[in-house]
């Protein structure tokens, strides 16, 4: 039996996190770890009162920083074989975790992305295409936060080198590609966000900031497919 750790980065998710955790609890198949990214709402209080396994960051590190903390923790525990990154806002369906794990268990890939290329606005699709073109990555859904990491991928990503990254998409994918790991996409259904917004696609300023950052990373890591 493979041990799986589900890592949920959470920043001010008091409204949606309880439902997500309940769904995962019902499955009762995986260990769950919530990484509280220095929330200023009641997220941490909720985690403490419900006795959920959690880490709490003393400074905000962003979604990737929080996920990496979970990976570092999981790798250091030495009892997990696979790691799942899962959004707190209920976008991802916990029933589809097995779909991602399937490819890992059959050793088809080191990183499996739960992709939903249909979602997203025109703006997001243009962004994906641009980033795919500039980085040479053959991934349809670059910004998906729903991922499964093998132990090898997780231990590589817990290194200090990967701590310099700000977002989990282009930088992380290029990092793993450089290390010679296999990346695979599996199409899954995603639910529309009922509340809360994407942390990246919430304002024009952050979109521009994100695009400039990712394009720079993509171009500097360009490789022909």
């Amino acid at each position: 039996m493979n041990k799986v750790l589900v890592i949920i980065p959470a920043h001010n998710e008091e409204a949606l996190l309880p439902k997500t955790l309940q769904e995962l609890k019902q499955l009762n198949a995986y260990d769950v770890l919530v990484v509280d990214d220095n929330s200023y709402d009641n997220t941490l209080k909720y985690l403490k009162s419900e006795n959920v396994k959690h880490l709490s960051l003393p400074c905000q590190l962003g979604a990737w920083g929080a996920t990496q903390t979970g990976l570092r923790y999981g790798v250091s525990q030495k009892k997990y074989d696979y790691f799942i990154a899962f959004d707190a806002d209920g976008q991802h369906d916990s029933m589809t975790i097995d779909l991602l794990l399937y490819s890992l268990i059959h050793d088809e890939a080191d990183l499996v992305i739960g992709a939903c290329p249909e979602r997203g606005s025109l703006c997001r699709k243009i962004a994906w295409r641009l980033l795919r073109l500039t980085s040479g990555l053959n991934v349809k859904d670059l910004t998906s936060g729903f991922r499964a990491y093998s132990f090898r991928a997780a231990s590589l990503l817990s290194s200090a080198q990967a701590s310099g990254l700000d977002y989990q998409d282009v930088g992380v994918l290029c990092f793993l590609r450089k290390a010679g790991l296999r990346i695979k996409e599996v199409e899954v259904c995603m639910r529309p966000r009922s509340e809360g917004k994407s942390r990246i696609f919430c304002s024009w300023f952050s979109v521009v900031q994100y695009m400039v950052y990712s394009l720079l990373l993509a171009v500097s890591n360009f490789r022909i497919r």
Binding site: V35, S56, L57, P58, C59, G65, T69, R72, A160, G164
Partner: protein, 123 residues
């Protein structure tokens, strides 16, 4: 010409004195002081005797001395700032690693010492 020399030497010597004071008071990390000591030394020399610079310039075949001064000054500032950002990146990564480690250690501590006073300390 005399007043010009006085102004430059006052600027040079006071900047150098300030830098040396900072070093003496341990307000600056020792590795950074080497750079600033060189800068303060150059400031004193060119402050007291600005003509010295003009005589150096002749060897480089520059017709208007101040342009070389500006070029060298900007070049040095460029290098300094570039290295500062490289250093800052290292610090940023170090801080992130520490923040992550603190949270992991705290979780382990909470698990081990689930007593009231530790809880109070955390909050």
């Amino acid at each position: 010409m005399v007043t010009y020399s006085i102004v430059t030497s006052v600027i040079g010597i006071s900047s150098a004195a300030f830098i040396l004071l900072m070093i003496k008071k341990h307000q600056m990390y020792v590795n950074y002081t080497i750079w600033w000591l060189c800068v303060s030394f150059a400031m004193i020399i060119f402050g007291i005797k600005p003509q010295f610079f003009d005589s150096i310039v002749k060897y480089f075949g520059v017709s208007y001395p101040p342009t070389l001064l500006f070029l060298v000054a900007i070049l040095f500032l460029f290098i300094k700032i570039l290295f500062m950002d490289i250093e800052r990146t290292k610090h940023e990564i170090r801080i992130r690693r520490l923040v992550q480690r603190v949270s992991i250690l705290q979780a382990a501590l909470d698990e081990k010492l689930d007593t009231d006073d530790v809880r109070e300390y955390n909050e």
